[in-house]
């Protein structure tokens, strides 16, 4: 538990940055006006925050077996956050919960008036 090695310092910086990014994701959840904007906050800073914290952890532990496991965490986090954000965003859009006053261009609603049958959700 000392500050002697540069690796520990790097780990500390990564952990702090990751925590701050996670906080930004949470603030975004509260402050953003509509669900689709919140999806952005839930996807991007959150993924990078988790990745940074996990990176800091692997810098701290420095065991090869752990690094493989944490690489798996990063891959899973990226893959799953994409899927969940897409599913939730699509459900929200289809349910008509989108605030049009925030949209500058909306090419999907224009098109869905003459809509082909949608695929399974």
């Amino acid at each position: 538990m000392s500050w002697t090695t540069p690796l520990d310092v790097a780990a500390a910086v990564c952990i702090l940055l990751g925590a701050v990014l996670t906080l930004v994701a949470a603030i975004g959840q509260v402050r953003m006006p509509d669900l689709l904007s919140r999806m952005h906050a839930a996807t991007k800073p959150q993924v990078l925050g988790t990745v940074l914290i996990v990176l800091g952890l692997s810098l701290r532990l420095r065991e090869p077996g752990v690094v493989g496991l944490l690489l798996l965490v990063v891959l899973l986090q990226m893959a799953t956050s994409v899927v969940s954000s897409h599913m939730v965003g699509r459900a929200s859009f289809r349910a008509g919960q989108v605030r049009d006053d925030l949209l500058v261009v909306d090419e999907l609603s224009d098109e869905q008036l003459h809509e082909e049958p949608r695929g399974a959700p």
């Binding site: 990014l21 930004v24 952005h40 996807t43 496991l69 956050s81 897409h86 859009f93 909306d106």
Partner: protein, 186 residues
């Protein structure tokens, strides 16, 4: 999507099951298995391969029509650009979250050039993590992605974003060139 139907002798139909054990899936599952154990030994490798084959047989998936080949340099460029973009995305969203001004968004349709499902999936996944966009809807028949773009002040920025998305697709296509056109998207 639409499963291949197979007719049984009594006339009823059921979706065809994909029996093939795909080597890529086995390799990936074995790697995950080793990562979970956290060490590599011959017994673990053999056990991992057995478990992976069992999983592939128990839960068959349609084969992924990946690409006719990998181009390492282009792939490295794609990955590097992607990592930079992930960091930029977080910074952008942080800026949007923390400033006082209300945010203006857009929903933009992007028609992809390639007709391969694999490229479409990859582009959609990467677009969700890079600045600006979350995929709202994907239409397989026309290969159109509908993206929700954060922080678009006017229509010009929307056009600019569409160009960015198509450039990303070009990078993916350069890294993973798809099969000849008559096979792709069949």
């Amino acid at each position: 999507m639409s499963p291949v139907l197979r007719t049984r002798r009594d006339g009823s139909t059921r979706p065809a099951r994909y029996r093939a054990v795909q080597p890529l899936a086995v390799l990936w599952l074995t790697l995950v298995w080793l990562a979970m154990w956290g060490e590599v030994s011959p017994l673990l490798v053999v056990g991992g391969v057995l478990v992976a084959v069992a999983v592939c047989v128990a839960f068959p998936l349609p084969p992924v029509d990946i690409a006719s080949g990998l181009r390492p340099v282009a792939l490295a460029r794609l990955v590097a650009r992607f990592l930079v973009d992930v960091v930029r995305a977080s910074i952008q969203v942080t800026g949007v979250v923390l400033r006082r001004r209300p945010v203006r968004n857009a929903v933009v349709a992007v028609d992809l050039e390639s007709s391969s499902d694999f490229v479409m999936t990859l582009v959609a996944a990467m677009l969700s993590l890079i600045p600006g966009s979350v995929v709202v809807e994907a239409r397989r028949s026309t290969h159109t992605l509908y993206l929700h773009v954060l922080d678009v002040p006017d229509e010009e920025s929307a056009e600019e974003f569409r160009r960015d998305a198509l450039q990303l697709e070009q990078r993916v296509l350069r890294a993973l060139p798809p099969h000849a056109p008559e096979e792709a998207g069949a």
